[in-house]
């Protein structure tokens, strides 16, 4: 079974987003009516993780998978973190905007999570800049190749990075507005219904980024 997930979006819990979770889920109904396929989203709030936030009722009401992660600021750019556990939150200060991203990558793996550098081609803040400065990132093998909030040339830099290094690539909308949800997604070959299953699917390597238009021919389900 294939699962299409938007791996990068922000609700009003993030300072610069203006969309509620419910508005995202409502807008996904619009996208589905237009013939696009999106099964779920992963909320990746900036610099925080809310263990108590429970979207299961909304998820059921709208028929959308809602998972939780985070987008953390590090001295090596922003990093998407999936399957966040209490252990990881204990070891890492999510609000530290100058944390060592390499430590975050290690800690996440130790606690069963997974880190994907966000918008690596983004000027001034993406992983490409730090690689060009000679930094190395042993724990990285997947980056966000398609970020629908980035400039086209920034996504081209991300694609070139993947081609040069063999990194695998995910896709996400980086939505901060309801109508931007799902503009890019990740197509997984696996059936994903939880954060641990998402990590398992990332580790399997069987996924690819898609723009929303590329999901149009796919039957929903």
């Amino acid at each position: 079974m294939t699962t299409y997930l938007d791996l990068h979006c922000h609700s009003v819990a993030s300072d610069d987003s203006r969309a509620t979770v419910e508005q995202y889920l409502k807008f996904i109904q619009v996208l589905r009516k237009r013939g696009f396929t999106i099964d779920g989203i992963v909320l990746t709030e900036h610099r925080m993780f809310d263990f108590d936030a429970d979207y299961s009722q909304l998820a059921t009401e709208y028929g959308v998978i809602v998972l939780k992660g985070a987008e953390l600021d590090t001295r090596f750019g922003h990093m998407l973190v999936y399957n966040i556990t209490a252990g990881l939150a204990r070891d890492i200060d999510f609000g530290d905007v100058k944390m060592d991203g390499r430590e975050l990558i290690k800690a996440a793996r130790h606690h069963g999570g997974y880190v994907v550098p966000a918008h690596p081609g983004r000027f001034g803040i993406g992983l490409v800049e730090y690689l060009e400065q000679g930094e190395t990132f042993d724990g990285v093998s997947i980056v966000e190749r398609v970020n629908a909030g980035s400039k086209p040339e920034e996504n081209e830099r991300a694609e070139a990075l993947c081609q040069r290094t063999g990194y695998l690539g995910t896709g996400g909308s980086d939505a901060h507005l309801a109508s931007h949800i799902g503009r890019a997604v990740t197509e997984f070959s696996a059936n994903i219904r939880s954060e641990p299953e998402l990590v398992e699917a990332l580790v399997s390597g069987d996924f690819r980024p898609r723009y929303i238009q590329e999901t149009a021919a796919v039957s929903v389900g």
Partner: protein
């Protein structure tokens, strides 16, 4: 245009796209606007040299003037008094004398005892729908036909 424009709650639907409205701001408009808050020209909004001093390539449109322009687009479309909340994030500098595209997309509709509410996503971009200069939302309170 403005006087006759009147929008009802039933006229809009989740997902509707409106516009873009295409605007342009000339330097003398910015000078005029800046005079309102006692920030006389030359300053970084009106003068090339002053702009360069603070690291800008060219003078820019002030954030609150950008907000006023977006408010105008909303009022032209929905009518006077419709804008109940306008919430903008300024992501990039807005240039003078360039086409500015203001797009509106309906992201939610809701009726309750307080009225008929329409939530809109707003973007302001250059001619290429690249990363927007401005993103945000507006809540419009509209009359019902019923």
């Amino acid at each position: 245009m403005s006087q006759s424009a009147k929008l009802y709650f039933e006229d809009v639907e989740l997902g509707d796209e409106i516009g873009p409205a295409i605007l342009s701001v000339a330097g003398d408009q910015v000078v005029d606007f800046c005079s309102l808050w006692g920030n006389p020209a030359p300053n970084r909004f009106t003068d090339q040299a002053e702009a360069e001093k603070v690291g800008l390539d060219a003078p820019i449109v002030p954030g609150i003037m950008t907000m006023a322009l977006i408010s105008r687009v909303l009022t032209d479309w929905a009518g006077v008094g419709a804008v109940a909340d306008l919430d903008l994030v300024f992501r990039g500098t807005v240039p003078h004398n360039q086409p500015l595209h203001v797009g509106i997309q309906i992201s939610d509709t809701d009726q309750d005892a307080a009225g008929n509410h329409v939530q809109c996503d707003i973007t302001m971009t250059g001619p290429v729908p690249d990363r927007p200069y401005v993103i945000g939302t507006a809540r419009l309170d509209l009359p019902s036909r019923h």
